[in-house]
């Protein structure tokens, strides 16, 4: 039964997450609310791991989420389900539609969806902020100051042109090193 639910949920993400990898994030957030497959804290780690390992971000996140939900089979099923809708659609487009991306309807859909997806991702990022930068101590939410400082420092370093071009993996390694060094 869990496999059927996984197939359904990840097909849905594959169909509606327009705009590639990061666009899957809001949908994975929705899943964390809906099922007890993973917590939002685990989702934060999942994003980190997905960014620092090879392969497309969206596939990595789906595999990870599927693994948490139902082990190795879940991992395989989630990533297959994620690509299934686009596989069918691409084959149809390649077979029947020339200049698909020039069609006014397609252009119109993306004209509306692109800013919407950006808005959805922005909300997911705020949710991740709450999870990553705040701790709950005796029922009170408290800012984790060292981690917050790390975030701000890295953000400003990213604005420097040469540093901004560095591979994300370099930043994540530096973050891991800082975490161990300062016992975050």
């Amino acid at each position: 039964m869990i496999y059927l639910i996984l197939f359904y949920e990840f097909c849905k993400i594959g169909l509606f997450a327009l705009g590639g990898g990061p666009a899957t994030l809001p949908f994975l957030m929705d899943l964390a609310d809906k099922y007890d497959w993973y917590t939002k804290e685990q989702l934060a780690d999942l994003v980190a791991v997905s960014q620092s390992t090879p392969g497309p971000l969206g596939i990595n996140m789906a595999t990870f989420a599927g693994y948490h939900a139902a082990g190795i089979l879940g991992a395989i099923l989630a990533s297959l389900s994620l690509v299934f809708p686009s596989l069918v659609i691409i084959i149809l487009v390649a077979k029947f539609l020339n200049n698909f991306n020039e069609k006014p309807v397609v252009k119109g859909i993306f004209y509306g969806i692109r800013p919407a997806v950006t808005g959805l991702i922005a909300v997911s990022v705020i949710n991740l902020f709450e999870i990553s930068l705040f701790d709950e101590v005796n029922g009170l939410t408290k800012l984790n100051v060292p981690v917050a400082i790390l975030t701000v420092v890295v953000f400003f370093l990213l604005q420097i042109k040469q540093l901004g071009k560095l591979h994300p993996g370099v930043w994540l390694l530096a973050g891991a090193a800082a975490g161990i060094l300062f016992r975050l």
Partner: protein
Amino acid sequence: MGILGELFFAFAKIGVLTFGGGLTMLPMLKHELVEQKKWVTEDEILDYYAVGQCTPGIIAVNVSTFIGYKKAGIIGAVISTLGMITPSVVIITVIAGILTTFMNNVWVASALMGIRGVVCALLVQTVITLAKKSIEDYFCAFIFIGVFVASFLFSLPSVVAVIITGLLGIFMYKIKEKKRKGREK
């Protein structure tokens, strides 16, 4: 090795060697498929990217599906897609297994806290880049703010947001085109 085997391993190699997906995969795809294999031209790759961005799903995977279809039909599309995702599935499954075992280790926990801090910064950067690209006029800005507020304050489901804004987009694009044509006359 037949064409199917070649497709599988070509895309598996790209899957292993690239991080992040999307546009970061473009240079690698060009190198492997245009210069090495000579399966497609550089113009064709850019066309496939344009389609890959306008179809649902993961952009890099969509491009591999498209090229697989062009080379060897439906089976080619399926094999190329599987080639692209197999390395991720194997690597992530192994890491997920290791992580669940070592999550409570002090060192791993500290490292993950540091990584979370960096991920927050990287994601803010991603949102800024996306916003610059996707908000091209007042209508887009209105959609961005509307969806942001509806999702943040009222937990609007993501699927609903995508359907509504897609329909609005078709409608507004028509008006925009009419205005543009009117001005040209």
